[in-house]
């Protein structure tokens, strides 16, 4: 990582949080592909969600217009990001909230830990939040002797299973109902040993297990789906009611939000509240959306904090092509349509942001060198672009980032040689003759010798034709 200069865009620091995997994508993917249960679970879940989402999107005659509006609003946000954040800060503060700024994961973790410690509580309840996973907040709190309880069902499954999330929306998508039952029986205190794998019974078990924790924990940590600059309103979109519990019951609420989540106006929510649930869970509207503006006397938390997080976002913003990755509203539609994600699952991507959006967001947040294999974790089929409710051109970004990823010396040498040969007709003719000779020698299917074998490891060499176009033209 290059040195960080004060006031200049910077990538997310190493050694904290979950933006970098332990191994390159191809190695992790190979292991995932060998797990038939994982592939069955993923295939079933992504097929289900694609059908649901497609049906409710088809109900809207103006889906494309909503996508265009959503994309335009996000582009406007990025163009005015510093000003909108200052406006948001003013509005939240005027409504009785407190705004904190965190340049990176280390700072954000320190701020939240100090805020929790000041309440005297050794436990927090959490609403599922990508930002707090990204910065490794649970680990930071644990180091300070504070227990984090994940209250989203899928997060709970991951936490009880001592597992890692594998999907933005449904972190336990890689688990089927039988596996979830086993995890609950093994790790959920006080669980009924007669628990079945009926999804309703599993949900009821989580309800019983968490109820007392909700009622007795004085601090909650959440993320935010949207923050409205003009009013200071924060919004959390959820399904189960665990979000409402966390946002309503505790005395202190701490929200950690990536800076790009701000939207300019209250009216803008009319666009995103239509796009997000239909693209995400495939519902017309998710069961619960909570909105709060600072503190409401006598109703809900009376100490309300907002932590605005950079952690590499400024570096993404600095790339004029790459910055559109910051449009993302974390719906996960791109994961659900991706042929690569459907086969490898989310763990192979290493970062908390998996799938196509992860392949373009993670390398930009960390610097491409730290996630160099991710821009290649795609077939460039373009399904993600079609599915994206805010029209992020993910294939364009993948190609852009491949260009910025470190390339082996041999590849540059081969490309330079090819360019030279194509510039010289006599050499080109000779090269084509050589290619046909290699055909006679039966090299097809065996790939190229090292160091070019890396290129043919996952590709078939095209078969050279028996006669080139130039020969055909000359003999015509």
């Amino acid at each position: 990582m290059s040195r960080t200069f004060l006031g200049m865009p910077a990538t997310a620091p190493r050694g904290v949080g979950h933006l970098r995997g332990d191994e390159p994508f191809p190695a992790a993917a190979r292991r995932a592909l060998a797990d038939p249960q994982l592939r069955r679970n993923l295939g079933h879940a992504t097929t289900t969600i694609r059908a649901k989402s497609g049906a409710v999107i088809a109900e809207l005659p103006d889906w494309q217009q909503l996508r265009a509006a959503g994309s335009a609003i996000k582009a406007d946000v990025l163009a005015r990001l510093p000003e909108l954040l200052e406006q948001l800060e003013l509005a939240v503060t005027a409504a009785g909230g407190t705004v904190h700024w965190a340049a990176d994961a280390v700072e954000a973790n320190r701020i939240v830990t100090e805020l929790v410690a000041a309440t005297g509580s050794d436990r927090v309840i959490k609403v599922k939040s990508m930002a707090t996973q990204e910065i490794g907040l649970n680990e930071a709190l644990e180091a300070a002797g504070i227990t984090s309880v994940e209250t989203d069902l899928a997060e709970l499954i991951v936490q009880l299973g001592d597992d890692r999330p594998s999907h933005i929306l449904v972190p336990a998508i890689h688990r089927n109902r039988a596996e979830i039952r086993e995890i609950f029986l093994r790790a959920m205190p006080g669980v009924d040993p007669a628990l079945t794998d009926d999804p309703a019974a599993l949900a009821a078990a989580a309800r019983r297990y968490l109820r007392e924790t909700f009622l007795s924990t004085p601090v909650a940590v959440s993320g935010a789906n949207f923050a409205v600059a003009e009013t200071g309103t924060l919004a959390v979109v959820e399904s189960e009611g665990n979000g409402r519990m966390c946002l309503t019951l505790p005395e202190t609420l701490i929200t950690v939000m990536g800076v790009e989540k701000v939207v300019p106006t209250w009216q803008d929510l009319e666009v995103f509240l239509q796009l997000l649930p239909r693209a995400s869970t495939g519902e017309r509207m998710n069961p619960y959306t909570s909105m709060w503006t600072g503190v409401t006397p006598g109703d809900g938390p009376q100490a309300v904090h907002l932590v605005l997080l950079d952690n590499g976002r400024s570096a993404v913003l600095a790339d004029e092509v790459g910055r559109q990755a910051l449009h993302c509203i974390r719906c996960s539609a791109c994961l659900n349509v991706c042929p690569v994600y459907e086969r490898t699952g989310g763990h192979a991507y290493g970062s908390v942001y998996p799938g196509p959006i992860g392949a373009v967001l993670s390398p930009q947040l960390t610097g491409v060198a730290d996630n160099a294999s991710l821009p290649y974790a795609s077939t460039l089929c373009g399904a993600c672009y079609d599915a994206c409710p805010v029209k992020i051109n993910i294939p364009e970004l993948l190609v852009h980032l491949r260009d910025r990823a470190p390339h082996p010396r041999a590849e540059a040498a081969a490309m330079a040689a090819a360019a030279y040969v194509m510039d010289h007709p006599a050499l080109y003719t000779a090269a084509q003759r050589a290619a046909r000779l290699s055909r006679l020698a039966g090299r097809r299917g065996r790939g190229l010798p090292p160091p070019l074998s890396g290129w043919t490891a996952s590709r078939d060499l095209p078969e050279p034709p028996p006669r080139t176009f130039r020969q055909w033209w000359a003999q015509r």
Binding site: A172, S290, D310
Partner: protein, 204 residues
């Protein structure tokens, strides 16, 4: 340099020259103003496992009796008392403790508005809806809606609502899609949602 100044300086450097004004957003999607379709609302609510009762104002108490008769419920301070049958024990929320609310069986409230296209009701903490906690902990929520409170789509709702109030948007009972991405009703919020829809022209 404070964290605030650091973040803002980074973002300014990354963004480049500031634009003169907010960009024009193409808003050629369906805007606010269409007429609300009550039957569509009923369909959407039912589709997401809410139970809908269409009746006149003087029959609300009968519906509450059918759903919650013999049970103990919490009600917001501004709820019209005529909606409560003699068969329920109603505790008014005057800063009740969470344990007290959690021990009750149900809650009856009014609403701020409802969105027909999505089957969503919105509560805004007005005196006839109460604090957010009272519609969260009891397992049965009966919500009374006047026809005039129903709007066509999301843009109508956003235009009518006041963002300075705490807002809760509710679309069916508590549910999850976390197990194999199938929707399962009933996790932490009320597992039973009943919507009572009053006909047009009903007085407040």
């Amino acid at each position: 340099m404070s964290q605030r100044e650091e973040v803002l300086a980074r973002l300014r450097a990354a963004r480049g020259a500031a634009p003169a004004a907010p960009a024009a957003v193409p808003r050629d999607y369906r805007r606010a103003g269409a007429e609300a379709d009550l039957d569509l609302l009923v369909h959407r609510l039912t589709d997401y496992r809410a139970t809908v009762h269409r009746c006149t104002d003087d029959a609300v108490a009968e519906v509450v009796d059918a759903v919650l008769g013999g049970r103990r419920i919490v009600v917001p301070p501004g709820l019209p008392r005529r909606w409560l049958p003699a068969t329920v024990t109603a505790v008014t929320d005057d800063a009740l403790g969470t344990d007290q609310i959690a021990a009750l069986d149900g809650v009856v409230t009014a609403a701020a508005l409802a969105v027909a296209e999505t089957g969503t009701i919105v509560l805004d903490g007005a005196p006839d809806q109460g604090r957010r906690v009272i519609t969260l902990l009891p397992d049965v929520h009966v919500c009374v809606l006047r026809a005039e409170q129903v709007v066509a789509g999301l843009p109508d709702a956003v235009a009518r609502l006041d963002p300075r109030r705490p807002l809760t948007w509710i679309s069916g009972p508590s549910a999850t899609s976390d197990i194999e991405l199938n929707r399962v009703e009933g996790v932490h919020g009320p597992r039973n949602l009943h919507v009572v829809l009053l006909p047009p022209g009903t007085a407040r």
